[in-house]
Subunit: 206 residues, 2 copies
């Protein structure tokens, strides 16, 4: 595309570096910013700049945080005996948004994937071991991808903490609420039959 | 969604103000920016900030510009007798990207639309009249939307310049190259038959 303005061209190029943003979408965003008040655009750029420069990672759970320890870890209302182990902070946001979980988290920063060159030492696994050992964690809830890499990571962590008094559980897999049986993949459907529950365990989400 | 970080929350909110960006897409972009180097993020915010604060509008054609007169208007290689009248600068970018047009432009900033409260006085029409009168423009090529508002604008401009020695043309409407007849709308198809061309006029795009 030919822009007739270097300023527009630069802004479009910067936007197209973001995931899923092509040149046309980038141009639409740039033209929208051009129509906005200068103060609103300043708010936009400041929010992004501040976010990148001031963000910290929680010393305890490795979640993003505005200070050294994150809002979840300092909250006295959370159950300190439960730790949900997740890959990334997107998973924390997804689980927090359900408002159904009151324990803590541990963000691994990925999963063990030898093909991508990611071994246990690149992940926050040793700090998880120390955390279980030093604080009174009684349950590790594994909320990792249902893939070979995810399963490998679960087994690796299980081996690491096997001498500690902690129970390891995984989140339930099955047919989603509102999901149609015919569109479910075979593995999910097969496991949801194999792991069927007595009717008294059947609860619907509020 | 619940973010556990005010910095992330602010950045997501700012991104969701852009057109077509929901909370999930905004979060994906924010997390991408979080993974990028601080200097790259600075380049991103600087490009946007500079674009908004330093952009000018060309005094002659009202296109966006880095200086008082735009790159197209100052280019001595352009045909000064032809002016293509468009609604917005997106149209300029689209036509420039074809690399087939060598005349100048005039950006109206919209089209006459009484329902939206846009009359001729809100648009750059009086400057177009002056431009035709004072410079040697011999042809106005109307490249406006094929809607009632677009047609109204074409007729209004034609009336404004009717005493001046200028020809008014409109861009050709018809079936797109590579377009399937069966998917064309009825009006386009009907007009493309009514305005059929002798075979010697048939040229394919390089």
């Amino acid at each position: 595309m030919i822009y007739s303005s270097k300023l527009i061209e630069d802004a479009v190029r910067e936007f197209s570096r973001l995931p899923g943003i092509g040149k046309k979408t980038a141009l639409r965003m740039v033209l929208q910013l051009l129509r906005m008040d200068e103060t609103d655009v300043d708010e936009f750029t400041n929010a992004i700049s501040r976010m990148r420069h001031e963000i910290k990672f929680c010393k305890t759970c490795h979640n993003v945080s505005d200070s050294d320890v994150c809002m979840i870890c300092v909250n006295p209302g959370r159950n300190r005996a439960q730790v949900c182990v997740v890959e990334t902070l997107r998973d924390v946001i997804a689980i927090e948004s359900t408002q159904q979980y009151s324990g803590l988290y541990h963000v691994l920063g990925g999963i063990i994937s030898p093909l991508d060159g990611i071994g246990p030492e690149q992940l926050n696994i040793s700090t998880l071991h120390d955390r279980v050992k030093e604080t009174g964690v009684t349950e590790l809830i594994m909320a990792l991808s249902p893939t070979i890499e995810g399963d490998t990571t679960v087994y690796y962590i299980a081996r690491q903490v096997k001498d500690l008094p902690v129970t390891i559980t995984t989140i339930a897999r099955g047919i989603a609420f509102g999901g149609e049986l015919e569109f479910a993949d075979e593995m999910t459907l097969a496991r949801s039959i194999a792991k069927r529950l007595p009717i008294e365990n059947y609860v619907t989400l509020k």
